[in-house]
Chain length 402, copies 2
């Protein structure tokens, strides 16, 4: 992808896919039944972090139109993202020369979704301190609990402050395929940009990242270089060239595999994939909820992520509220420390024996397992098997822990 | 690619490839016969423009170690690249918030290679004006003429000013595979970074970009975020994880296809690919040189790019020096204007008839054809055929031009 003449079909195909994805998100778009536009509503990018980089650069360019030529003005900026949002926000701020200190971490509700009152307060504080709210990154599907930020309330706050509204839908935007779950992204149509990794829930191979843009014409003024050995004004079909609208020039044809997958599965097949994943997560939640305290759910957003602890028999019933308050107040007894060191040992056993590969991360200081459901081949037996492994290794390793 | 545990073989394979490429370029590296290091001398990136972005960010981070947290200091910077260098320099400067005005275009010799005296003058001017020389981008294989900048002299200038020495070897670094041609990159071992697109001359599919780094440990301090749900300090094999050393996190496994190609072709096969490409370019130069003025070479660097004009019979013999001086002094006669408009029409005929796809670009204001030799399946008959098409369409279109 760069010049239409060397990849004409792929340019049409990418444009048609972006139009269809934009339509699902409610972005201005010609719609799936019309001809693909020569300026599609976005582009495919090498991953979510790069898509965020482009989005924040577009935001900065909207604020400061002479940015490209003169560089950043030195005006202090703030970028807002929830405490549960992706760490890519800091990385992008560092790369752009804004700095990670400009990233304001907004408090979340218990489930990991952004607290809109905290956002409004944080933006007001920034303004009072002389910093310009550049952008708010709302997360549709956080990495750990898969929480969805309240997009309409974020949009309201962005409108009030003239901030760019970006949605990190890397994981969760695929909920838009499902009638049952697209309500989680209510308000997505108000965003300036949204990134959507089809290589996550939709099972397309790495990399397949769509960046959707409300005003794709901004790409030209922000990224065009006008290299005359490529983008000759006197050649045919130049208006379709994508290479002068991107930071990259030549790109992989990441759209083709999505096109083929979508054609093979259909809209219904894509919806079924989401619905099945949530059904399996619901099954896991049911097993955990009826385990007589052997497992405890830690956070539950009702989507595809199941976050839980295995509890050694001597600690049942486990009072999670008490555990977390102990940790947050800096009091950690030997028992809790052992519990924290248990998950890495369980995981190491799973790896050594080749039975499963399940990630953990500290939540309030205690290593906690997280299972994500995406694979349509996963069934109830797999859920039972994985939880069974965790319980078995857990009992053995707990006895062995000093 | 991100965590060792989800792609262990690919991490080893990427590390081994980077060590071997670094060895060819003369970078510090354990060498191809030793075990792959868990901190490889670089990384694979999604394309040359992104690799340049990383390199300039590393350069800025070396200059200003608190960059990540506090953002750019506002210190005026200059980035030097030759007039024939890639337009990605400006794009990277814009993205980083430095601005395209900070990019100084250094004059070139007639063949398109950077004039080292002009570089020294430009750097001295920048310093005199209070700007810090951040980096010099030397080009090993410019886009149009495939010129190679004098790397040792660039290195000397960088040492003098403490500037980062980056080599854009996207196209030409592959000359390192050939005993006959690696001299073109003499001095590459002195660079701080070099980008090398294996998806260009080596025929690996898009994308396969290696960024080689003299001090890869800089990646950690510049790009690490320490996300605790991924890079747990208490898990196994974490020291091999690559995801916290890159701006991206998850990446495609671009190394695998290079590994397979290299295993299949061998070092000798890679060298033969380069030597064949130059042999075919030499053949084209011979045909052009013996065409009785039907074709004239415009610039010749003796490598894989052949840049030439087809000359209508009434203009033979064509005095190129006169043509270029007329253009550069703003005097353009109707004949030269017709010549400028001829190449797009020849190309459109080739496209319409499906005979060839050859790019052109203005050189001193006249559209000029450029043929790059890379494909090992191209032989002398193909060269004759393409030049024959150009001559035939040229004669027909010239008669038709108003």
């Amino acid at each position: 992808m760069s010049l239409f003449e060397i990849a004409p079909v792929f340019h049409l195909l990418e444009s048609a896919l972006l139009a269809k994805l934009a339509h699902l998100a409610g972005f201005p778009s010609p719609g799936p039944d019309e001809s693909p536009p020569n300026l599609p509503p976005g582009m495919f990018c090498p991953g979510g972090s790069v898509a965020l980089l482009y989005s924040l650069q577009l935001a900065r360019h909207r604020l400061q139109p002479d940015l490209v030529r003169f560089g950043a003005s030195g005006q202090p900026l703030s970028v807002f993202v929830s405490k549960s949002g992706h760490y890519g926000a800091g990385k992008a701020a560092a790369m752009l020369g804004i700095g990670t200190d400009a990233v304001v971490e907004v408090a979340t509700a218990h489930d990991g979704s952004m607290d809109p009152n905290a956002l409004r307060d944080a933006m007001a504080t920034a303004v009072a301190e002389g910093r310009t709210p550049l952008a708010v990154i709302a997360t549709a599907g956080t990495t750990v609990t898969c929480a969805f930020d309240p997009l309409n309330e974020v949009a309201d706050a962005c409108v009030e402050h003239g901030a760019w509204f970006h949605i990190d839908g890397c994981y969760g935007a695929s909920a838009l395929f499902s009638t049952d779950h697209r309500h989680r992204l209510a308000g997505s149509h108000r965003a300036d940009s949204m990134v959507w990794n089809l290589h996550k829930m939709m099972g397309v191979t790495q990399q397949c990242t769509a960046l959707l843009l409300r005003e794709p014409e901004r790409l030209d003024s922000c990224f065009s270089s006008g290299a005359e050995y490529l983008f000759q004004p006197d050649k045919q079909f130049g208006e379709w060239d994508s290479g002068d609208r991107t930071y990259q020039c030549g790109r992989r044809v990441d759209a083709l595999k999505l096109w083929l997958t979508w054609k093979a599965r259909g809209d219904d097949g894509f919806a079924a994939r989401i619905d099945h994943a949530v059904a399996m997560a619901d099954f896991a939640r049911m097993v955990i909820g009826t385990s007589d305290g052997a497992f405890v759910p830690v956070v539950d957003t009702g989507f595809t992520n199941v976050v839980f602890l295995w509890v050694p028999p001597e600690l049942r019933p486990l009072d999670l509220e008490y555990l977390f308050s102990e940790w947050s107040e800096g009091r950690s007894g030997a028992v809790w420390d052992r519990l924290h060191r248990l998950a890495p040992r369980i995981k190491a056993r799973m790896q050594a024996e080749g039975t499963a590969l399940i990630g953990y991360q500290p939540i309030h200081g205690v290593n906690t397992f997280r299972v994500l459901f995406m694979n349509p081949a996963v069934g109830p037996d797999d859920v039972d098997a994985v939880l069974g492994h965790i319980a078995r290794y857990g009992a053995e390793e707990w006895a062995d822990l000093d």
